[in-house]
């Protein structure tokens, strides 16, 4: 409909024509149109002389959502890398990363013993998800000590500033806001890359 009438135009047709257009039967076209009306996507009047229909705001919204998602894909082909701004950490990272239960798995699965501390990066949430999901997930299992239990962690290998091997780690139950990620590496990243307070840093998959 939108293709024919632009977004707001009135669509004059018949269920038979719509059916032919979609490669389905007249009955199915009729039913589908009524379902769309039922769902509040379109306005639809039918009579023995044909149908008269128009997209409603809800219907346009559906199309627009699709458009925006596709636009992000085709209008910005830059999702194999991710930029972030370093954030002053709270020092918690060091505590977790240094736990023997995790450390042994890091060495085995990631191939390096992490520096006892994490680099926190503020990133675009959607871009980060896109970026992360493109990297094979490595599971670091949780464990218990006498004092408490530690949850599992998902890890994703990355290359930092094109040089240093490291990994994004995502604790199972993270306390971070979702626009923040934690990066570990064998070296002290802040020092190695001479990062100032809010320095930018680039990760590649």
């Amino acid at each position: 409909m939108a293709k024919r009438t632009s977004l707001h135009g009135m669509f004059y047709s018949s269920t038979a024509k719509v059916a032919q257009l979609l490669g389905i039967s007249q009955q199915s076209a009729s039913r589908k149109l009524r379902e769309m009306r039922q769902k509040g996507l379109i306005e639809l009047q039918s009579s023995p002389s044909g149908i008269k229909a128009r997209l409603l705001d809800k219907g346009i919204k559906v199309l627009k959502q699709d458009y925006l998602e596709l636009k992000q894909l085709f209008a910005s082909p830059k999702s194999r890398q991710l930029s972030g701004r370093a954030k002053t950490g709270l020092g918690e990272g060091s505590y977790y990363v240094s736990q023997k239960g995790y450390e042994k798995q890091f060495v085995k699965s990631l191939g390096f013993r992490p520096f006892p501390g994490t680099l926190n990066l503020v990133v675009d949430e959607a871009l980060a998800q896109s970026f992360i999901a493109g990297i094979p997930e490595i599971e670091i299992r949780g464990f218990r000590t006498e004092k408490r239990s530690f949850g599992s962690i998902r890890a994703f290998k990355v290359l930092i500033e094109g040089k240093e091997h490291g990994a994004i780690i995502v604790p199972e139950r993270s306390s971070h806001p979702s626009n923040e990620i934690e990066v570990i590496a064998p070296s002290w990243l802040r020092k190695k890359f001479r990062l100032k307070e809010e320095g930018k840093i680039k990760l590649t998959a």
Copy 2:
């Protein structure tokens, strides 16, 4: 998948996760993924440790087609008007439009007696379809004379240059290329709008 991995990234996941994402069962997700592979849309490897998939060119093409169609909708909200370039007609129009069998119906259905001649406009085919489909169709029935038969004509009322009432006419079996439309009006349009050989003209719905 594309949303997660960009267009070309490798997608590591499980059928259960895909299922949750789509709001369907693990079994359906598994089946749908295999169907997509079958159709050549994606590359898919599955194992007891999960799935590994990637969009193939055919799959990306499908997304891109959708993107381009939606882009046309949202990136150019100008489909209630149509521009065309006047083309030197062959004079056939006059013969058809003046036929009594059509003329009576034009007067009754369009509200004017057409000038004996048509203005041929060269237009963008897709835009023209879009434009035309948004206008209620008026059917001018065909008829027979002693000599020959005349086919039916679809007519769509338009406003020419914002001033003159007229109509686009689409003969049932047209000999025109599909990027050309015929316009009729009560007056001689070329004269009224001082159209030169290749002058531009604007129609509104």
